[in-house]
């Protein structure tokens, strides 16, 4: 019995959502009286691998087969499955992102394990193994009971704070026998937006709707986002009109995000938009229409013209940051 967690990194640095997943695994392991093994794939330094101990991992399995550097769900799932078998994992955890959503269902299917995807709570062990997740695109939650021996969870980012402790982990090289068939998908080209904060893990998000009038006005939102260290998002018609790239579209048919702060500017607050953002901890709505439905879902509202309010808010943030030193 043990808990296994797949830890993702970008250029050798573990992602915040994966640290979240490691500490999530550690809490489950503690509750179950067992240990946590993390698995890392690719080029990561020894110090960084060991640092997973700070978040509760006792052991790190490190797979360095260079063919895995191009992500593919088939080969990666094989690695996770092999690791699960090696450590006798009964709970297997990944992140609910494009990596985890492709790998974890394969792992679950192969190991005949029940799966909860997009978990937002720790498992309730007093009721067996019951985990809370979003359903109906954020309009409700479901409590899912897993009854199989092995359980697979993909964890929604920003669901838990990352708590850094003091432990250290042992690192072990972990080789998995992979065949050519496991690499039968060719990666032709990769295009990563460098430097920006990925929307799915951003704690602060500034988002714009049709009320922004056109892409030429987005600079005011970008300035606010920059000042806050926030990612940018948008409503669907904005992406449909190509004012903003499609990956910024949030809502029922776009991405689902749960930042600490969501600032919605010139967005009416249609039910399909709310579905993607109503897990946000705090919502600020800036809109010139007092009847905009979004105000009903907001914590703070500002009535007025976006092009006047947003620069004013940016200045206020700047002043605040300067005072914070």
């Amino acid at each position: 019995m043990s808990v296994l967690v797949l830890a993702e990194h970008a250029q050798g640095i573990f992602k915040k959502k994966s640290l979240e997943a490691v500490q999530y695994a550690a809490k489950i392991a503690a509750d179950m009286g067992t240990t946590v093994t993390a698995i890392a794939v690719g080029n990561v330094g020894d110090g960084e691998l060991k640092s997973l101990g700070n978040y509760g991992a006792q052991q790190v399995l490190h797979t360095t087969d260079a063919r895995l550097d191009n992500f593919n769900s088939r080969s990666w799932a094989k690695v996770v499955i092999a690791a699960a078998q090696k450590v006798g994992a009964t709970v297997i955890i990944g992140t609910h992102d494009t990596t985890g959503k492709a790998v974890m269902p394969r792992v679950a299917a192969r190991l005949q394990a029940g799966m909860v995807s997009g978990a937002v709570s720790y498992p309730d062990l007093s009721k067996g193994f019951v985990v809370k997740k979003n359903v109906f695109s954020g309009k409700a939650f479901a409590f899912v009971s897993i009854t199989s021996d092995i359980k697979v969870i993909s964890l929604m980012a920003n669901s838990f704070p990352v708590i850094k402790g003091k432990g250290t982990a042992t690192v072990e090289n972990f080789d998995v026998a992979l065949t050519d068939k496991d690499f039968s998908v060719k990666v032709v080209s990769v295009n990563k937006a460098s430097g920006d904060i990925p929307l799915s893990e951003a704690e602060l998000v500034v988002s714009g709707g049709r009320g922004m009038k056109g892409p030429e006005n987005w600079y005011v939102l970008e300035a606010l986002a920059k000042e806050l260290g926030a990612a940018t998002a948008c409503s669907r018609p904005v992406a449909d009109s190509h004012w903003r790239p499609h990956n910024e579209h949030v809502g029922q048919t776009g991405g689902t995000i749960r930042p600490n702060l969501y600032i919605a500017v010139g967005i009416s607050g249609a039910i399909q938009h709310l579905a993607g953002v109503n897990g946000s901890k705090t919502i600020v709505v800036i809109n010139k229409d007092p009847e905009a439905p979004f105000f009903k879902a907001a914590d703070y509202g500002v009535l007025g013209d976006a092009m006047e309010i947003v620069p004013r808010l940016t200045e206020a943030v700047k002043k605040f940051k300067a005072n914070q030193g």
Binding site: P105, S117, G138, A140, I146, V190, T253, Y300, L313, V317
Partner: protein
């Protein structure tokens, strides 16, 4: 080349979500059902385009669901699917849904299986990858563009923090999202034709249920919006810092 499109029935995007029986049962009263938008707008339309351009020979539809899903399946046939299969069981467990689809597709010679990136009811985003594993096929998730040349499939797909282009040989399972195709509206001819197209009911295979939903919960109601003086953004920043504690 036969294409299989996975069609899921979901509540309309504007449906009011409510539960009964002590929050254990979804209250379907007054709810209209639609084809999961990803399945209809992207998977099905792209499959039809591949057929229309002569790259595919047939577009089959599969739904895991009880008889109440048939109107939605008929709509998918009206859009242009050739034949539909309804696996006669209902489950919220992705292992069951994927297990049924895989058991049905096994040995049927489908070279391209398309599913949506996510269903808007259970939001699992996991059926496609599970089906791929069960059928020992490649899986390309979150495609925004799907092209076929000979037996080589090429997709543009979303990855963490960007996008990439992948290619592989058929067979493959692909999950589709925005960009793959443009939504279509069924026309009268399609609607008439759909009435006589085959919709076969398949008894469910023996697939173990590994999870179940034991209860639902509505998100906590917001306590009400606090309106801030538009002239005083310092006040908003102060509240975000000291009250909401988010900056």
């Amino acid at each position: 080349m036969k294409i299989l499109v996975c069609i899921s029935q979901v509540p309309d995007t504007t449906a009011k979500i409510a539960f009964s029986e002590n929050n254990t049962v979804f209250n379907a009263q007054g709810v209209t059902y639609i084809i999961n938008p990803y399945d209809e707008w992207y998977c099905l339309v792209r499959a039809l385009e591949l057929k229309e351009s002569g790259l595919a020979s047939a577009v089959h539809l599969v739904t895991v669901g009880k008889a109440d899903t048939e109107p939605v399946i008929r709509k998918a046939l009206a859009l242009g699917g050739d034949e539909a299969f309804r696996i006669d069981t209902d489950s919220s467990d992705p292992s069951v849904v994927a297990g049924q689809i895989a058991a049905f597709a096994q040995g049927q010679g489908y070279e391209l299986i398309l599913c949506g990136k996510e269903s808007i009811d259970y939001n699992n985003a996991s059926i496609g990858a599970m089906v791929a594993e069960l059928l020992d096929m490649n899986f390309l998730g979150f495609a925004a563009k799907v092209d076929l040349a000979g037996s080589t499939i090429t997709v543009n797909r979303e990855i963490d923090g960007g996008e990439e282009t992948d290619s592989c040989e058929l067979p493959v399972v692909i999950s589709c999202q925005k960009g793959v195709a443009e939504a279509r509206i069924p026309n009268m001819r399609g609607i008439m034709a759909a009435r006589t197209k085959p919709l076969k009911v398949i008894p469910p295979a023996a697939v173990a249920q590994l999870s179940s939903i034991v209860a639902y919960e509505m998100p906590p109601a917001k306590s009400g919006v606090k309106m801030i003086d538009p002239e005083n953004m310092d006040e908003l920043v102060r509240l975000l810092h000291s009250e909401a504690k988010v900056i």
